[in-house]
Symmetry: D2
């Protein structure tokens, strides 16, 4: 199991959500927040689609980044922030369906960075289908007081 | 230079734009379309930010995917579509500023897939700053008539 | 479970091994070959190290590519070859120890490409430690008879 | 241009080469070492090939990692080491020919990590052909005295 270095990790994440403007603009919500594991969900509407009626790759990249990034946040000390160093998203299948879910997990926490993954699932006709997967380096940045 | 296999590539891309709902939702526009090279731009507003007032990683991933993907589209024959197989985005610096630009380029076109890159620049106080770079495999999919 | 499209997949892989010169040069052997799952192992000697006595990143990349690539080979029809389109390797911890193992798995098989992963484990003092992970696009190439 | 934080960067790299056992085992040599730019070369022999007579992906990953990693080393202060955090290699074309060259460059140096790239060229019949490209996060690790 993971070591918790900030017992208030849930409050911290919830406080950030109010200022996560792009996340709100896309319509993404967090549904699970636990140590090293965060899930994000989204109701798919026309606004999320590309020219062939599939879920846009940018929507999938965004929800994957959010799930993996907040998963990293659950494990860092209070005096650190987390930024995405790099993220790779592999697209397995075209995203259809009416709901999207990303399951973000910390694979290897660390002092200066964490390796995380996110699986992206679409809910299509009652079935959950794995449509992509992300692998990412989340970097810990010390908070400098002004 | 690149071989043009669909002389109507510009018309094709422009036609797609009308149904690129997520691209419109984010506010991204194409500003340059030429063989193997597409640029996309975006005016940054509060809606594009994350909790610390920086440009959200999902915005950067989205504009990079769009610039690289349409760059690939300029070089495929009419009977093929292009989908993102995978994309890796590296974030060099926090994105500030009021305008974002992605320059997408085909590095190696191919029959079944193209390797593309996108540089992401932010315009901050009159200077263009390289804030990230993407590397991606764009896959050619034959169009099947219904 | 996976669909087997070439029942002779094991014979095919074994035949390739005799001409896998770089794999032999490094000293890597396959220890498990089953549908969508291949394991490769290596006894660590001085020849595999970098300047600080750790296992060289190139050794880890090589064994990951081999395990993931042969995992993809177990699922392609006889008339296709498999080549690595791209591979990303994340290095979680410095590799020490006397033996290295890569576990390659197909995550999403496909007609034109397969998404695969490989976990890399080192055996250090009786314990298996996850030192890295790879994510890769393996591309299917039709064999053209001469 | 880049800021030099360790004027002895060439001596440091040369000293490491004597203990770069895997690099020697593969036969790779450094041919250019300058700030933010390192080139590595290799004479291709049978030992570098895979089952179809092409240069093995592991050879290409190794030479790319070395060129990019030593490019990062040219720019870090003396009291830091450099380790590969992650590397993605895209394979554009099968590697043939008798000589391989990797050109490693720092794209964005930083205090805690550097983003680097490496282009991989093969010399085939008098022509240099771009056969692949790598993008990588090189992490700076403070040297702790024992």
């Amino acid at each position: 199991m993971f070591e918790i270095r900030n017992p208030q990790y849930k409050d911290r994440i919830r406080e950030y959500l109010s200022r996560q403007y792009f996340m709100k603009h896309v319509g993404i919500e967090l549904t699970v927040i636990k140590p090293g594991h965060v899930e994000a969900e989204l109701n798919i509407e026309q606004t999320h689609l590309q020219q062939f009626g599939r879920i846009h790759g940018g929507v999938i990249a965004t929800i994957a980044d959010i799930a993996a990034g907040f998963a990293a946040y659950t494990l860092v000390p209070e005096e650190f922030h987390v930024v995405t160093g790099e993220i790779k998203i592999s697209y397995f299948r075209p995203g259809k369906g009416h709901r999207l879910k990303a399951v973000g997990k910390v694979i290897k926490p660390g002092k200066s960075m964490s390796f995380c993954e996110a699986e992206i699932w679409s809910l299509e006709g009652g079935k959950e289908i794995l449509i992509g997967k992300a692998s990412t380096s989340m970097v810990n940045i010390p908070i400098v007081e002004g």
